[in-house]
């Protein structure tokens, strides 16, 4: 993201381009229409989940675990990258930052979305079975950590800390819309530095708790990073799709230009490569060391019809998106990055499904309508939180001192 601050160019050619044609406030009629769609989807999803609770509770909670992880890691990706924008003082992202912040602010709602996981603990986690935990010396050693109370308490603490940080940063950013002072930017930066630590360190612990402990004996230190990177990639995919959706509706058309999409394309490419790097590192080291308590996780994913999915992963996760995005014209094409954004979001769901479901279905994936119902529920609830912010706040951080610079941003 090379960029120059050409402060001396204020009086130059840029003034001629009518950037200010955009409205920075979402029209109430449009906002209401969006809200109605989301409320309808949420009701439909929740209705489906309730129906699932009475017909197949075990499956409901298992499917819900995938859906919960899907939206929570997107929120975490947003949390991390909003703070990165503040710390690096990026200008390129300013016109899109409110959209990113609104995704970030869906993170606190995870505490409510976590309630079904608490209700279904014994259906989701094998370690809730005391017989299993007593059967093995390794598992007996982990019993203290993997106890139900400790598990729930840890997650509550994670969410409270994240919410405090995300909320504080969000408040500074919206306050700047009216104050237009550098002070809010400085306060947001001060929260961001320890916030990055919280996002990654606690994000890693949360990954261990929520997903790694599904296989109670298995461990991999890099697992948290793999999950967070997947979430970050999904986050940038969501940002891309939201911007493209707005563009189609004629919203922020002049504020989020091809130059901004080009940078989103770079992030999609970079995170695709980084995801491959960390996910392959995990696989390669486990393959090479060949220790039974480590290989068992991959072993379960090579049985039955899970094997074709495992073999498809390098193509879905790396080869196809990487080579599609590699050259510059591809990253500057709204169609191509829109396609890759949809692709990445679908693959992320398949990936999480592939991480969670082999715990219960040893011979292969067994798709169920509850997969869809739970996904619709968590996505629409987070979507509502995201959307509700546009009612009150501007769609771009108009008070940011780099806003004008961001409007005229060009890739070198």
């Amino acid at each position: 993201m090379s960029q120059h601050s050409h402060s001396s160019s204020q009086a130059g050619s840029h003034q001629a381009i009518p950037h200010h044609a955009d409205s920075y406030q979402l029209e109430v009629s449009r906002w209401t229409a969006g809200r109605n769609v989301l409320v309808f989807a949420a009701l439909l999803g929740i209705l489906g989940c309730v129906a699932g609770y009475f017909t197949n509770p075990a499956r409901l909670f298992q499917s819900y675990m995938v859906a919960f992880a899907y939206t929570t890691f997107i929120g975490l990706g947003a949390f991390f990258f909003v703070m990165v924008q503040f710390l690096t003082g990026s200008a390129w992202s300013v016109t899109m930052r409110r959209i990113m912040e609104n995704i970030m602010i869906t993170l606190p709602v995870g505490l409510i979305l976590f309630i079904p996981v608490v209700l279904g603990l014994s259906e989701i986690y094998p370690w809730t079975n005391p017989q299993l935990m007593n059967s093995d010396a390794v598992l007996r050693g982990k019993a203290g950590y993997l106890s139900q109370y400790a598990f729930v308490l840890r997650t509550v603490v994670y969410f409270l800390l994240w919410s405090l940080w995300a909320g504080s940063i969000y408040r500074q950013s919206t306050k700047q819309d009216t104050e237009r002072s550098i002070k809010q930017m400085h306060i947001a930066s001060k929260w961001s530095a320890p916030g990055l630590f919280l996002a990654v360190a606690i994000g890693t612990m949360a990954s261990y708790d929520w997903l790694m402990s599904l296989e109670p004996k298995w461990f991999s230190t890099i697992f948290g990073l793999v999950m967070l990177t997947g979430g970050a990639l999904s986050f940038f995919s969501v940002v891309t799709l939201v911007c493209l959706g707005f563009r189609r509706a004629g919203i922020l058309k002049n504020s989020i230009t091809q130059e901004h999409y080009h940078d989103l394309g770079k992030w999609l490419l970079a995170l695709t490569a980084f995801y491959t790097y960390v996910a392959f590192s995990q696989y390669m080291l486990i393959w090479y060391a060949n220790l039974p308590e480590e290989t068992i996780w991959y072993r379960h994913r090579m049985e039955g019809s899970w094997l074709p999915i495992s073999l498809a992963m390098p193509f879905l996760r790396f080869l196809i998106p990487f080579f599609v995005l590699l050259c510059r014209p591809a990253k500057r094409s709204l169609k191509v990055i829109g396609f890759i954004a949809v692709w990445s979001l679908i693959v992320e769901y398949i990936d999480l499904y592939w991480i969670v479901m082999p715990t219960y279905y040893k011979t292969g994936p067994e798709p169920h309508w509850l997969d869809l119902a739970t996904l619709v529920t968590t996505v629409s609830v987070c979507g509502l939180v995201f959307w509700s912010r546009f009612r009150k706040h501007k769609m771009v951080p108009v008070g940011d001192l780099r806003f004008e610079q961001s409007l005229h941003f060009e890739n070198a």
Partner: protein, 189 residues
């Protein structure tokens, strides 16, 4: 390397015209002037500036660099070299069971393949960049311009090269002045 090219690199060639040069004090003025000059039909333009100026490539019609294609070729070559080496050494030339691992497998070959691909691409981009730019060179005709040194200080220079089919000394000087350039000079090569 032929003698003419060598002479050219060291500035020993016969005196010939390099082009018309002018200077601007703002990067935006350079971009605008470059665009106007190109719209007049000139095709062989060049620009010199103390730092990269956004949009200048587009304004004076610099085609996208071919370096990327050179690099990707070498990346593939590097990856192929690594895989071939690991496969030949481990599975053909000297078969040895180590830790019960297969004689050849992608799992453990990928780190080396990745590293060699990166190494080859790094060399390709560095050496390729020098080659494409005709480096190293100790002399460039633009040095004869009285304001040449300011391209690394506070001026943004625009060149209409004499090779341009539309080039005409008097008219080009007029055009250069017309787009607002200062210190317009005819520069010899």
């Amino acid at each position: 390397m032929n003698l003419e090219l060598l002479k050219d690199k060291f500035g020993l060639g016969d005196d010939k015209l390099y082009g018309v040069m002018g200077a601007f004090s703002e990067p935006d003025d350079l971009v605008q002037a470059g665009r106007k000059i190109r719209e007049m039909g000139y095709t062989k333009l060049d620009a010199m500036s103390p730092f990269p100026v956004h949009g200048i490539d587009d304004a004076i019609g610099v085609p996208p660099s071919k370096l990327g294609w050179i690099v990707i070729c070498f990346t593939v070559l590097g990856a192929a070299t690594a895989l071939l080496l690991i496969w030949y050494v481990g599975a053909v030339n000297y078969r040895l069971v180590i830790g019960g691992k297969p004689f050849f497998d992608f799992s453990y070959s990928i780190p080396v393949t990745f590293e060699l691909a990166v190494l080859f691409s790094a060399f390709a981009s560095f050496i390729g960049m020098w080659a494409i730019n005709g480096l190293p060179r100790l002399y460039h005709p633009s040095f004869n311009y009285s304001q040449a040194h300011r391209a690394s200080d506070d001026r943004f220079l625009l060149v209409i090269e004499a090779d341009d089919p539309k080039f005409d000394v008097e008219k080009s000087v007029e055009h250069m002045r017309g787009v607002g350039a200062g210190d317009v000079e005819v520069v010899e090569g």
